[in-house]
């Protein structure tokens, strides 16, 4: 009895050691990034061969951060990314939940075919769509109000809308909302209808307030790819003032600046997301877990 207890605690100590090893491997590059962003290049390379590479010691300052803003319009890139992500998330939540509401809670004829067609889009990876989509958005008309005259020009390339509109509707968000709405009792709708509420009112005042977890999931799963997007803006954005952060850092890197400054820029666009992640850690991970089980 005593022996089995002993071996059990030994093995749990071993398990803990493996856990810590994995944690160190997961965290060291990011710690290295943030620590290096505070050091001048000479010290980064000097510290490389010792533990000092992971410790904010020596010649520490925020100079690299200042340099990032001096060299490129980094504030503009940040505002662009925040704006693009926010609009995509907000419109995505509204349009996809509205669609899922009608598909799951109303007796619309032909809704089964529509839902199947929407789910079918899930099998197409974005990489396959990207290149024909570039050609296609370049054919679309672009309306611009110039004073009192409406100007029509061709092509959406190099605009904000091309970074937002194609990503608002999302089959997976519709699917998530649909699943969630199915779990809300339909008697609530009936009661509201008898009280004279219209369908949009039921959506707005009955179903959506109950769908908080689904909304959180959709918000997270829309925000992350919008903030991290790279392939798409690489192809459709040329002007400096329209660049999102991920394209901005790529150009910044090509300016042959110091590594400390590159690490400062990288920290600048990573740390806010990491802080957000830690704050909403539970719903974040749960949403990924539920999104994974889509089969």
């Amino acid at each position: 009895m005593k022996e089995t207890l002993k071996s059990k605690s030994l093995s749990s100590a071993g398990t803990m050691a493996v856990r810590i090893l994995f944690a160190v491997v997961a965290a060291f590059p990011l710690v290295f990034m943030v620590v290096s962003s505070l050091k001048p290049d000479q010290q980064i390379f000097g510290d490389m061969s010792s533990v000092a590479a992971f410790l904010p010691i020596g010649n520490i300052s925020f100079d690299n951060y200042g340099a990032v803003f001096d060299r490129v319009p980094a504030a503009r890139f940040l505002i662009n990314s925040i704006g693009i992500s926010a609009v995509t998330v907000v419109l995505g939540i509204f349009i996809n939940s509205l669609c899922a509401f009608a598909l799951s809670r109303m007796e619309v004829r032909g809704k089964r075919i529509v839902f199947t067609a929407i789910l079918a889009t899930l099998i197409v990876p974005f990489q396959t769509l990207a290149l024909p989509l570039v050609w296609w958005v370049n054919q679309l008309p672009y309306f611009e109000l110039n004073g009192f005259s409406l100007e029509i020009s061709k092509g959406w390339l190099d605009t904000y809308q091309v970074q937002i509109i194609p990503f608002i509707a999302n089959a997976f968000s519709i699917y998530l909302y649909h699943q969630y709405f199915e779990s809300i009792p339909k008697e609530l709708d009936e009661a509201a209808r008898i009280d004279g509420a219209g369908w949009f009112k039921i959506y707005r005042l009955v179903v959506m307030p109950l769908a908080g977890p689904a909304t959180a999931t959709v918000a997270i799963l829309t925000f992350l790819p919008a903030w991290n997007s790279y392939l798409w803006p690489l192809m459709v954005v040329q002007s400096e003032e329209l660049r999102p952060v991920m394209i901005g850092i790529q150009y910044f890197f090509q300016l042959n600046v110091s590594w400390g400054e590159v690490m400062a820029y990288a920290s600048l666009i990573t740390v806010p997301v990491v802080v957000l992640f830690i704050a909403f850690q539970r719903s974040f991970i749960n949403s990924i877990a539920s999104s994974g089980v889509k089969g």
Binding site: F22, A26, C99, I118, A191, M235
Partner: protein
């Protein structure tokens, strides 16, 4: 509890139990029509957007692959038959790209899913600090691949962190390679950082699978005196059947789509050792503006994705 009637607020009113149905028979017909109309009005915005930005480009991509379309061109688009595919299949760079992503997938699929499963098993039990470990393991996933690539580009330098570590750990015996500038080590370098970044994501999916296995099965196994290995072999592993298929399919498809890392770190080099299918598509479609040729590559990629998910589904289904 008072019995006085509260003024009904809109929110509260709907939550109340339904009163007896009022006589509403005569209004049935307009009500039905109105439901159809509102329903379609609610479906339309999302449906139109999906039609315009998923269905249409998908069909266009299929069509454009058989034409000579360019991104910006004064010439009208003409049908050229299978010219693009003939060119593609006789291009050694395409075959090299196919070989590279196969190499990438063959290593990444088992190693990454295995490590992710190990991580999930390590944090599946309740213990002090479980949230701390879960958060740390997941941290690389929320970091964008562009940032990860720049970070590792720096660590992979000849005098970078990785080589300094190898040298220190071997007491100066190992003199690390110039990872990204050597055709022999460039792909392994990309493989390592890719696994590092994405393992946490698949850990969460494994974890969801593990938690769906009933605890009673483990209790029964323990009563029968099953060892931990036997519990894993006869309870956990079969219980993860669906999760396994899902993870294999998602990792394989993600592996075939390899792009960001290559675009940031190596631009397909050195000597085409890291070029990939999507990288080739973007190079011809975006840099050389050959939409039609890029569409042909995308189409081949899509067929590959379909084929692999079909094969994996078939294999995992047949085993039972």
């Amino acid at each position: 509890m008072t019995t006085t009637h509260l003024p009904p607020t809109p929110g509260r009113r709907v939550a109340a139990p339904a009163p007896a149905a009022p006589p509403s028979k005569p209004h049935r017909r307009p009500r039905y029509l109105r439901e159809q109309f509102s329903g379609w009005a609610m479906i339309a915005p999302a449906a139109v957007l999906l039609l315009a930005f998923v269905f249409l480009p998908a069909i266009l991509g299929f069509g454009l692959a058989f034409t000579n379309a360019r991104l910006v061109s004064p010439r009208p688009v003409e049908f050229v038959g299978t010219d693009n595919f003939v060119r593609l299949f006789t291009d050694p760079t395409f075959w090299r790209a196919l070989l590279n992503v196969s190499y990438f997938a063959v290593v990444v699929v088992p190693v990454q899913s295995g490590l992710a499963l190990a991580m999930a098993l390590l944090i599946n039990k309740k213990f002090r600090g479980v949230n701390f470990f879960r958060t740390l393991y997941f941290l690389p996933v929320v970091t964008s691949m562009v940032v990860v690539s720049l970070l590792w580009l720096f660590m992979y330098r000849k005098d970078g962190l990785i080589n300094e570590f190898l040298s220190a750990a071997s007491f100066g015996l190992i003199d690390g390679p110039d990872w990204l500038n050597d055709p022999a080590t460039s792909m392994p370098a990309i493989i390592i950082l890719s696994i590092w970044q994405a393992a946490g994501f698949h850990m969460i999916i494994w974890l969801a699978g593990l938690q769906s296995i009933s605890g009673e099965l483990y209790e029964a196994a323990q009563l029968d005196g099953a060892s931990r290995w036997h519990q894993f072999r006869y309870v956990t592993w079969p219980g993860l059947k669906h999760t396994r298929t899902l993870i294999l399919v998602t990792i394989t498809i993600q592996a075939l789509g390899l792009f960001d890392q290559v675009s940031v770190m190596t631009q397909g080099g050195p000597l085409d050792s890291t070029t990939t299918i999507i990288f080739e598509a973007v190079r011809s479609g975006f840099k050389q503006q050959e939409t039609s040729y890029a569409s042909a590559i995308s189409l081949v990629f899509f067929v590959l994705v379909l084929l692999i998910s079909a094969v994996q589904r078939y294999l995992t289904r047949e085993k039972d």
